[in-house]
């Protein structure tokens, strides 16, 4: 008996009810608050804000809760909400040189003005599961900084600026004040893309995808000889130039992680040898992301430096077209949708091809043809 597919509406409603139930889990376990998520799963919140392109800890926490901890699903929720927000304009560039730094390391110099600050990091932790965290924990208060006013007030120039003084690294490109800043959420991406759009794409790009691509450049697929010039984490001011008042007004402070990679460049016929840059910036504490982004940014500048474009990480169309996990997950998962109309067409075709194959074989071997029928 053939049962036509009916009652889909009920099925959807019931599935959503079941999802809500499973999301809550055992009702005897206290429910997570958004504060708990944003305070205690803060790196998950940072990733959702970064790849969701939406700086709002509370909404990101809500998205994580609603997505049952599936971060790509949470990023998708944040993006879909963001898409409905009006766009008022472009902020002034954030001045990371003036960052209130909480962590800052350089792999290129042992000592740098302002010093190396380890900050809150998993680096040098031994990855041993800590049973004491299974219950309630009361960690020690953080060590207080030296009350040495000199270090507190010490300026923390960016390492790339220090290199820049000697002309050893390419100058940071000067922004054209008048030129509009590209926005791939408002204009479809065309190729070749300028660096502003590439960086925007990478900032929104999937951490895992960029990690793998960055890793591939280290293994020789588009090698760039990278050094971590500097990674800094901290708070920066965001300012918006309001036409009506004529000057930049502060909108608030955001936490960002910036990574500047310093890469070797042997020079060309017209350019002397110097170091080149790869840049990464992400919301919150997102070190793996900003490092991977910086590696891929430099790899994508291959054309600019006359590098041979041979490796996936250097291939702009390939990287930019596949970096977005919301697009990728949608298209991969759409294979769950019914395709029986196409499949029926293919079924008809395969049957026809097999029949023709058997007939052709049969001309040579009548027994085989019988077997096929």
């Amino acid at each position: 008996m053939y049962v036509a597919v009916k009652g889909g509406e009920r099925a959807i409603e019931n599935a959503h009810r079941l999802l809500a139930h499973e999301r809550r889990g055992d009702a005897s376990v206290p429910e997570l608050s958004l504060k708990q998520i944003s305070e205690q799963l803060s790196l998950a919140v940072d990733r959702v804000m970064t790849e969701g392109s939406l700086y709002d800890r509370e909404l990101a926490a809500l998205a994580i809760k609603q997505a049952r901890g599936d971060l790509i699903e949470a990023i998708f929720l944040a993006r879909a909400f963001r898409a409905t927000l009006p766009r008022f304009g472009t902020s002034e560039p954030v001045e990371t040189g003036a960052m209130q730094v909480r962590r800052r390391i350089s792999a290129t110099f042992k000592d740098i003005p302002g010093g190396q600050i380890l900050g809150p990091t998993f680096d040098y932790t031994h990855r041993l599961l800590d049973p004491s965290l299974a219950g309630t924990s009361a960690p020690e208060a953080p060590a207080a900084a030296d009350s040495d006013a000199a270090t507190d007030a010490a300026p923390m120039p960016r390492v790339t600026d220090i290199l820049g003084h000697d002309g050893l690294i390419e100058p940071s490109p000067v922004a054209d004040e008048g030129a509009p800043v590209g926005d791939l959420t408002r204009e479809p991406l065309n190729f070749p893309a300028d660096r502003d759009l590439r960086l925007q794409n990478l900032a929104r790009g999937d951490e895992g995808f960029l990690l793998a691509l960055g890793y591939s450049t280290q293994r020789g697929y588009g090698r760039t000889h990278p050094f971590v010039g500097e990674i800094r984490l901290g708070e920066v001011e965001v300012e918006f130039l309001a036409e009506e008042v004529g000057f930049a007004v502060p909108l608030g402070r955001i936490t960002v992680t910036e990574c500047q990679m310093v890469n070797q460049f042997k020079g060309s016929a017209s350019e002397p040898p110097c170091f080149t840059r790869g840049y990464g910036l992400a919301f919150g504490q997102s070190e793996r992301k900003s490092m991977s982004m910086a590696l891929v940014d430099r790899a994508l500048r291959a054309r600019e430096f006359g590098d041979d474009v041979k490796a996936p990480a250097q291939d702009e169309e390939f990287v930019l077209s596949h970096s977005d996990n919301v697009q990728a997950t949608g298209f991969v998962e759409h294979l769950k949708l019914p395709h029986y109309v196409d499949f029926q067409s293919e079924l008809g075709l395969i049957r026809k091809l097999r029949r023709e194959f058997a007939e052709a074989q049969g001309e040579r071997d009548p027994q085989l043809q019988e077997a096929a029928e």
Binding site: M1, Y2, V3, A4, V5, K6, G7, G8, E9, A11, I12, D56, E58, L59, L62, F76, R79, A80, F81, R82, A83, T84, P86, R87, L184, T185, R186, E187, P188, L189, N190, F191, P192, E317, S321, V326, Q327, T329, G330, F331, V332, E333, H334, L337, P338, H339, Y340, V341, D342, Q344, S345, E346, L347, G348, L349, L353, E356
Partner: protein, 288 residues
Amino acid sequence: MNAPAYNFAYLDEQTKRMIRRAILKAIAIPGYQVPFASREMPMPYGWGTGGVQVTAAILGPDDTLKVIDQGSDDTTNAISIRKFFEKTAGVATTTTTSEATVIQTRHRIPEAPLQEHQVLVYQVPIPEPLRFLEPRETETRRMHALAEYGLMHVKLYEDIAHHGHIATSYAYPVKVNARYVMDPSPTPKFDNPKMDDCPALQLFGAGREKRIYAVPPHTTVVSLDFEDHPFERYRHEAPCALCGATDSYLDEVVIDDRGGRMFVCSDTDHCETRRADGHRGVQPEALA
């Protein structure tokens, strides 16, 4: 918290204007894929976001909307999209093809002939017909600019050399208004002839790939073929078991694990309308 608030038909007005401008250019250049700044929709890419954005940009309170997936109004994704517009635009919906002013579809063109006042909106996963022959957008854009479609003909001809006929059964490429080669979306090639000289406006939305294209009413749409190997519409070997139709596209339904099969209309409205008119197939009682 920033409490989310949404506009009529979900999209904000600025987005609608951008999509509307793209639609007008698409109609003016039949078969050409207009890039547009596709938005993140509250449903996944690949699940009809392009079609949904086009529908949201054209839909008004006087419209009657029909949504089909695989020819059916009752498939879960069709229901989900229909409910989305009921909720965000409050429009009337229908399952009857002739009553709809806007029909959003995935993978089928309805069997009932479309009419002048109707708009058919296709959900498109990969809008570029040349994509599987040339993965680079920069290259395929050039080929369209020069109307350089040799690669497609070579591919189809290789099929003929290998199989004796063209081995493309769905998403079968067409040429629109004698200029652009276009992907009709993954409809079975059975549906291709319905696109030619169609009285309704046909709009195509690809959200993930950020393209909109169109076929105006009464425009020539020709399936690519060769003089010695003309285009052939797929023919089913059986009539619909429920309504007896011999001219509709059929779904094959597996009814047991011993090789039992039956064939029924993929267009559920077409089948129901025919049965209501008294048409019967060989197993009309098979419907539970």
